[in-house]
């Protein structure tokens, strides 16, 4: 009874200003762990209380694509212009300066283009909502991508259905016999 709960990692993760979020699966509940370097905050959702799981598609990926595209594309154009300016410069000192600047701006642009590529590769973004019988909708901090969210849905719904179908017998007669074997105290 007092043995520590074992958690299994669920697909997907989330990153926000509040920290790095992950979902963990326990025997009777879902744990949302939000960690920020040296501390971790937890939220628990017990399966018996969950009434619905909904995935809401968001436009976060689209917004980041625009940001990364503008910075990456603009940076690449600027780097090209600087390189061209350096190549056509008459003085050696100016040429080297412009080429160094082109290299720095080009490296920055490459970082943003890689981020753009990764963002496209990771797929559409979403928010997972979980409804409980007592407190309404809760937005989960993870997963934030559609593919792991659908995997999560496919994995969680049968588990929760099984727990809710099994229920828990509140009859004292059924617990009498087992109580004798349980350790008493903390």
């Amino acid at each position: 009874m007092n043995s520590p709960t074992t958690y299994r990692r669920l697909p997907g993760r989330g990153l926000s200003w509040a920290g790095f979020a992950r979902l963990w699966l326990a025997e009777d509940h879902l744990l949302e762990a939000n960690s920020l370097l040296i501390s971790e905050r937890y939220r628990r959702f017990f399966f018996k209380d969950v009434t619905a799981l909904v995935i809401q598609r968001t436009k976060v990926r689209f917004a980041w694509n625009i940001v990364h595209g503008i910075l990456g594309g603009g940076g690449a154009l600027l780097a090209g212009a600087l390189w061209w300016g350096g190549a056509s410069a008459s003085e050696d000192e100016l040429r080297v300066t412009l080429w160094v600047l082109a290299g720095i701006v080009g490296a920055g642009a490459a970082v943003f283009l890689i981020l753009l590529f990764l963002n496209i590769l990771l797929g559409p973004t979403c928010v997972c909502h979980l409804q409980t019988s007592t407190a309404g909708w809760h937005a989960l901090a993870a997963p934030t991508r559609l593919r792991p969210a659908q995997l999560l849905l496919a994995r969680l719904i049968p588990l929760i259905e099984a727990v809710q179908a099994a229920g828990r017998s509140p009859d004292i007669e059924s617990t009498k016999d087992t109580n004798e074997e349980q350790p008493v105290g903390l």
Binding site: W24, L37, S39, R41, A52, Q56, Q164, P170, Q182
Partner: protein, 209 residues
Amino acid sequence: MTVSAASAPTSFACPACGRALAPESLGRENETACPGCRVLLNGGFLPAFWSPEKASSTMADHAFDGDAVCFFHPENRATLSCDRCGRFVCTVCDMPLGTRHLCPTCLSSGLGAEKLPELVVRRFHWSNATFLAGLVPLVIGLVCWPFFIITGPLTIFCGLFGWKRPGSLPRGRRRWLAVLGLVLGFIQLGIWIAALLAITHAAAWRDAF
């Protein structure tokens, strides 16, 4: 515990805009657009949605002769036993915690001392703190070295103080990170001592060579 089924709900609120939607419109595979906010939704409802349970009654049944009675209220009939200590409790004293049912004593004893993992809402990661306290000053390096006399012992203190403290709830203690942090803390102290020796003996070494 008296439980009676209530009528099944005929609508649910869109999680984005709160507009009432028909539960049948939500599919697990196909996405549906909310008519209110136009966001695409998909998901599923669980048995608890279709057959909601009413909250357990706060009125306890009076005990008759031969009935098991509540440990805390001898006049009340016991309906459950505490999953931790085994005491019989009535519906008033039943403290449901997930699938477990505890008595008020076990619940209150588990609140402060983190004895009930279900009640932990925050954990401090001593191993991460040790590692960061060991690494960050070394990364800053040359600018930071006079402070190694503070950050080094601080790192070692964090590592030793948090050695037996509980770690992350799902991941457990990450002692390898604490060990790494301790090593970095000792390196900081070593660098500080070496730098101090180098400064104090610089003149003597210059003369010698």
